[in-house]
Subunit: 156 residues, 2 copies
DNA sequence: GCTAATCGGAACAAGATGGTCCGATTAGCT
DNA sequence: AGCTAATCGGACCATCTTGTTCCGATTAGC
């Protein structure tokens, strides 16, 4: 019941990209420095995001990425689905996946579809534009390093 | 964005347990046969569910398990949290986990808490009692084997 | 007091995830 | 026009969580 680290990183990166003006080109290196995401991981993410159609890429010297749509038209669900595929809490709610023997008489399945729709709606209701608003004064620069470096126990 | 197979199995098993009268004792073997969950996995699950307080266990010959609460008082969120811990989409929404460098000025975090609450609410709104109603006539016995044997691609 | 059946937790294997690297492509410069 | 340099794109490998399996501890019944 936790989304992958890549999705978390992707949301942060897209949020950072949305804060820039739509026109400027930014590359993976810049985004990695701003967000603190490791560079190779950032490269992998922008690759997936562009192949999913959320980013438009330009190769060659001076190339980079750009949001393909205005930030208000990109939701958390879009970003998550771009990174880790369709949102499906269980295998049986996913289309074209019918490998459950009791699917015909399963009483749990219809409820899963309802819950899944609710979850997806909660994610689709938040856009990148909403993530760009700054609740506090921009005192602290956000180019912090080691953002959530590990899901492992870094308690002590 | 998919819950673990163990949680899926646990929901099916708890749903099966809820269909029995509250008084009867059932053991892991019986539940495994009814639901198609592999027996060792079923044992592991009932162990976690009982340690979480959802099942009451009785050891020794003739022992077994029993729901500790009426089915209407057990929700999907209870079962999932019993199996895989607190529901937290990201590490930063979990209590006592503050290993994010930009947590103080992060604009994404407050939105994550909102989304997380919505997701948890969707799961808490479905009780085992609701899962027990039978939408179709009980034509097909549900002691089917190999319920979702793999999350791997079993397409062809 | 012994036996048998059950729960409980520890140990192992597998798949998925996350991180790293190198090659293909393209714009800019000489 | 050719070359160089910078960037994207995809393939490879280590790591971790997940899922499975097994064996020991406990307890009711005989």
């Amino acid at each position: 019941m936790r989304l992958s680290s890549l999705s978390d990183y992707a949301v942060v990166m897209m949020s950072a990209a949305a804060r820039h003006c739509g026109g400027v080109r930014l590359n993976a290196t810049l985004l990695a420095e701003e967000t603190g995401v490791p560079l190779p991981t950032a490269q992998k993410l922008v690759s997936r995001l562009s192949s999913a159609g959320l980013l438009e890429s330009t190769r060659g010297t001076g190339g980079g990425f750009r949001l393909s749509r205005p930030p208000a038209a990109i939701s958390l669900a879009d970003v998550i689905e771009a990174v880790e595929g369709p949102i499906a809490l269980t295998a049986c709610v996913e289309e074209s996946r019918h490998d459950c023997a009791i699917e015909g008489s399963c009483r749990v399945r219809p409820h899963w579809t309802v819950v899944n729709t609710a979850v997806r709606g909660a994610l689709a209701g938040v856009s990148l534009a909403q993530l760009s608003v700054e609740p506090v004064s921009q005192s602290a620069p956000h180019n912090a390093i080691s953002r959530a470096p590990a899901l492992a126990g870094a308690q002590e």
